[in-house]
């Protein structure tokens, strides 16, 4: 319940955050909404010696029209993603997924940047941005760089972010009215997904990403190919877990996860087809 002692530092800009990370190295962790990090620290599963609070960097909380994409500041809270009219119009998958993260209290604090930087394969938003083919913008001592979502999630809780980099923005391509679906299967509404499927229709890239089916959020590439090749929803869904080693935990064995993935992918594709027959 009580975290190990640490030093708290507050920064007021992205540059200051980067400089602090560079100075402190591995000893420091960034704190945004804190709803990925603080729970770990309270159970003493993580004990950074310095927390760098970027939560007040107000100019990293925004949703802007970027022409072919919508640019979301990393510190935009799930609640604000959920209720943003621009996203509702241009990238409707995202507000819907944000509305399913945790519970209302979590959504008032957690940020999209924090969630993606944490990169939990069981989280909703990483899979959603993967399916959308988003671009992650990171800032380090050498300046900003763009990382495609498909390159971003490297391993279990491991992303392409360098230790001295701050995730500053997520650029999600506009969906242009494409159909979409998000299937989240869990025991209780506040739970992580046992298996989840984020899918966008062909006009928006046809990306299908899976939650909690691997050590990272993953694209169901074989399903995407089958869909592109004209397969029906149920035929394409048979490839849902191809090439994957789904995890085992209290809620599901790998075998059950494979089965769920097939069902949920099929349902996602059916929902998309129903929208755009």
């Amino acid at each position: 319940m009580i975290p190990a002692a640490f030093e708290y530092r507050r920064v007021s800009s992205a540059e200051e955050a980067v400089a602090t990370l560079t100075e402190l190295g591995d000893d420091a962790k960034l704190l945004a909404g804190g709803h990925s990090l603080l729970p770990l620290m309270k159970l003493r599963l993580a004990s950074p010696s310095v927390l760098v609070d970027v939560g007040r960097v107000r100019d990293l909380s925004y949703v802007r029209d970027g022409g072919d994409h919508v640019a979301i500041g990393a510190l935009t809270r799930h609640h604000d993603v959920e209720h943003n009219p621009l996203l509702a119009a241009e990238v409707p998958l995202l507000p819907h997924v944000a509305s399913l993260v945790g519970d209302p209290q979590v959504r008032h604090r957690g940020t999209i940047g924090g969630s993606i930087a944490h990169g939990d394969p069981a989280s909703d938003l990483p899979a959603a941005v993967l399916a959308l083919g988003a671009t992650i913008v990171a800032q380090g001592p050498g300046g900003p760089r763009d990382i495609p979502a498909s390159d971003f999630f490297r391993g279990f809780l491991e992303t392409a972010l360098a230790p001295d980099e701050l995730l500053t923005e997520i650029q999600v391509p506009k969906m242009h009215g494409a159909a979409w679906s998000y299937q989240k299967f869990n025991r209780r509404a506040q739970d992580w997904a046992i298996v989840g499927v984020a899918a966008v229709g062909a006009p928006a890239g046809g990306g299908i990403a899976l939650v909690n089916m691997a050590t990272t959020p993953v694209r169901a590439a074989a399903v995407e190919r089958a869909v592109a090749g004209g397969s029906s929803a149920s035929d394409a869904a048979k490839f849902a877990s191809e090439g994957l080693e789904p995890p085992t935990d209290l809620n599901a064995t790998p075998e059950f996860r494979r089965h769920l993935a097939t069902v949920l992918v099929r349902r996602a594709l059916e929902e998309i087809a129903a929208d755009h027959p």
């Binding site: 319940m1 009580i2 190990a4 002692a5 159970l43 003493r44 299967f185 025991r187 209780r188 509404a189 506040q190 739970d191 046992i194 209290l250 809620n251 599901a252 064995t253 059950f256 089965h259 769920l260 069902v263 949920l264």
Partner: protein, 772 residues
Amino acid sequence: MADAGSILGNAVMRLEDPELLTGAGRYVHDLESPGAARVVFVRSSIAHGLLRSVDVDGARGMPGVVAVYHAGGDDLGLMPFQSFPMLAESFNRPVFARDRVRFVGDIVAAVVAETGPQAVDAAEAVVVEIDPLPVVVSQEAALASEAPLLFPDHGSNVCFATSFGEDEDPLEGAEVVAEVAMVSQRLAGVPMESNGCLMVPGDPPAGITCWISHQAPHSVQPALVGVLGLEPEAVRVVCPWVGGGFGPKAAVYVEFLVAAAAALQLSRPVKWVETRSEDMVALVQGRDYVMNAKLGLTRDAKIVGLDANVVASGGAYPALGAVLPMLTQMMVVGVYDIPKVRFQGATAVTNTTPVGAYRGAGRPEATQLIERVLDVAADQMGVDPAEIRRRNFLDPAAFPLTTITGGAYDSGEYAKALDAALVAAGYDELRSEQARRRAAGESVQLGIGVSAYVEVTAPLGLHTEYGAVEVHEDGTASMAVGTSSHGQGHHTAFAMVASDVLGIPMDKIRLVNSDTAAVPRGSGTLGSRSLQTAGNAVLAASQVVLVRARQIAAHELEASPDDIVVGEGGVHVAGMPGRTVLWEQVAAASRDASRLPPGLEPGPLRHEGDFDGTNSTFPFGAHVSVVDVDTETGKVTMRRHIAVDDCGRILNPLLVRGQQHGGIAQGAAQALFEWVQYDGDGNPLTTNLMDYAIPAASELPSFEASNTETDSPRNPLGAKGIGESGTIGSTPAIQNAVVDALSHLGVRHIDMPCTPERVWQAITDATREAQR
């Protein structure tokens, strides 16, 4: 008993609420005492092993550390503790593990420091060396030949056994036999307030005040007295507001003994705040039975006999939970007329958290077993599950009766409750909808589950209780009882009773409970006993007070006591409210010999007594569960839950409904969500509320709860308990509903919790079987 205009039987809002709604209610964790230190327990992370060493030197030197206790050093002189008197002393629990640890959570050391964070930091610095021993997690493993023994001196892992009808062959003459093997899985009580205490030495003088989060302070006091070597008057045990109990908070915790002994030794208050992760291994748990039943019936679905067997897991240091199979044995016949019964029950010690009482405590298990095997029989014979029950109910005209297994049932109208539930559910329409979905091959199937139950409240001799009522010279009244309210609304309920007799407004009547210094004796609140015992004690005491008041007023008013009635603010001559003696005046006169009639001694306007209910009471009911089962994913969604629960004559329907709702939610949780799990090495896997899935509002429907009222003849209030009925009735109905949804696919049984994977697996197995 109550006239028209009586408050009894009415929905009255709670007196408790204003304080709780504004955050003014103080629970143990809210209490402070100047100079209080904090204790944190160091617990074994190995389920079974030889304790080689406990190195506290590092911890001792850390900031703020006041003391460190363990068996190899200062152990506060605490002797091994007998968790339940009926059990062999070889199972006594060393307060600090000595030569071996027996479960993950076993206490190895205790660190006392100035602040909580300092105590936590120092606890991490204690180094424990344990040589692992082979682990037994399940009762089957514990009872296998060559199983490692937790208590080698005892010679076996069996800590309790009970049996009935050993010489019978209960299935003799049966034309049909239905069988089930099932598990009532281990559950955690999870009161929202975790365990805790604040031990304050020096008050009473040379003694100690023990604030505990508990259901039965009078039961804890003797243990503390014994351990601390103090006179009973020097040990005050008191509960402030308590955030839920459900049974586990009725046990005596060794943590209390450590905190109290440390407080006395250090001459300063010591506070323990249990974390949730700690609670999930340290608080006693519930259920954990492996059960088997064979039910013999005639071709007309009349039961001829029941052969049942349960094996319980008592955990590492057996406690009350170990003897619950006794209650299971008594209640296994349920609401049915069963001519022959053979029952065997045994409890094994295992390398897991000790098992205690948890909502229902032995009776849910009995009901789950009989209700499941009856449904298996119904399915096997092609008889409707409601009909098979109807054919076998005990005859209402036969009450009071004693069942073959010794249940002295007071009253019951089982068919009436079942019929009411079926009507409320719209049973026939539900069956039609189920048929429609089956014919259409829909992927979401409808399941309808039925249960009929009876349960025993104020069990195990807990049918007597202390109660006192006094009217004070300021016109207010107080009630003192030996029960211990922790959410049930006793203040409201008992004030209704006293107010009904005395006419004093409820908000001028206060409740004194949960304090050994203020109440001389009591058995606490558990086993759904409080209204039928303490409520009746308050009734009786109020009536005696009224008799005295009438005599005093009669003397004042020069009338006959028979002509004195209760009125506004006091008592008056019938028909002459203008001649009222106010309660203030009656109370004052009561102490004044010069104002009393001959034969009446001066003293407070007060009466105390012990109400004796003579026996337990037996509430009953019937539940209908309606579930959707997604046959593709295995997910079960509760659509509706209909409960008809009969707790005798209802005092306050608002409070009764609340207990029904809460009980149903916990029963549903066993059927669908919760399960305390261990891996093969005895490591607990569900030690927080993320992994242990207690349902939220989003997982449950609104409940359709109603009541029949069949008075208990055993007490003037006609009351039976209600606290555990909802849980006992709901679990089997929901489990039966899940199986019912899939019976057309060949599914016969699914063990609880009916998780999506289990449901999916059952469908897969049945489909594969059908394809053969």
